[in-house]
Amino acid sequence: MSFINYSSREINCKLVYYGPGLCGKTTNLQYIYNKTRPEAKGKMISLATETERTLFFDFLPLSLGEIRGFKTRFHLYTVPGQVFYDASRKLILKGVDGVCFVADSQEERYDANIESLENLRLNLNEQGYDLDKLPYVVQYNKRDLPNAMSVAELSKSLNGTQVPEFEGVATTGVGVFDTLKMLAKLVLAELRKGT
């Protein structure tokens, strides 16, 4: 849940990038970090294994600017995608304001995508959230690879509720900011509702 500070006039929101192992969650954050001007970002923290797999989370704080006199701060987190880190994933989801599901477009990762999405729903439910009520976007990443499935196929199996979806190549940045912007917008729109 967001933290609204009326005293310092700041809004803090937590966005979580979720998805199967190696789908490109960390790469999304690295790209955002590299392309954001220094004043708008803090340090990126990656708690990772020696082989660069996310162990607990990546964290990237962004200040996007002011809206009606309130500074907007977004805290971006990634979860560890490997199946056996489920306990950590649950912890990262606590207090989430918006979710981006990053799918791996490669044919051989089809089952991993489905499994991760089910895991996301389940873990949210456990904490009293409903994915269908949260600000939520989907990114089909690794569009550059030859074994990528068609977006139509991916959309059919991974985006039944037709939330905003984007094609991505996180390594070169394709779709990365479009995805983030949409998610941030949805979160702010939710805040406007005053839930």
């Binding site: 849940m1 809206i67 406007r192």
Partner: protein
């Protein structure tokens, strides 16, 4: 699911006063109050020397992980943590269900004194955050009732 956290001028002043006094009474370097989601709520002492944003997220992650361990052991929650370094030590404790109280200190004081003063500050802080939790539930606390799609779009026009 935790309700939204809000902070107002009045409560922040009270919290700041308690944090400032805790910092002095315990002879600590700095005091941080962090919400469990990793956002900084208040700071006292030499906090400007610190990367408080990174610290807040790591402390919150640490407390979340420890809370997860507690749950696995059928403990409700561990009440505190203490990490001792050569120069700096850190004491983490909970204020209610939502806030983490962090004391950073050096050889200028002792863990015993810190714990003693923390206890008192906790007792004073709990009712303030309870009051804030109540206020968060009242409907007028949406800060952006009249923001437009244009306002949101403007954020991204860089």
């Amino acid at each position: 699911m935790n309700p939204q956290l809000v902070m107002f001028e009045e409560e922040l002043k009270q919290i700041q006063k308690i944090a400032d006094r805790l910092q002095q009474d315990s002879r600590a370097r700095s005091i941080l109050l962090i919400d469990k989601n990793g956002a900084l709520v208040a700071a006292a002492g030499a906090a400007h020397e610190l990367d408080t944003t990174s610290l807040s997220s790591l402390v919150a992650g640490n407390v979340a992980a420890t809370g997860g361990i507690a749950k696995l052991l059928q403990e409700d929650e561990f009440t505190g943590q203490f990490h001792e370094g050569k120069g700096m030590s850190i004491n983490l404790s909970l204020v209610g269900r939502r806030i983490i109280l962090v004391v950073l200190f050096d050889k200028n004081t002792t863990p015993g004194l810190v714990r003693l003063r923390v206890k008192r500050a906790q007792d004073e802080l709990v009712p303030i955050f309870e009051e804030l939790a109540k206020k968060a539930l009242s409907p007028q606390s949406s800060p952006l009732p009249d923001i437009t799609d244009q306002d949101i779009d403007n954020l991204f026009n860089d």
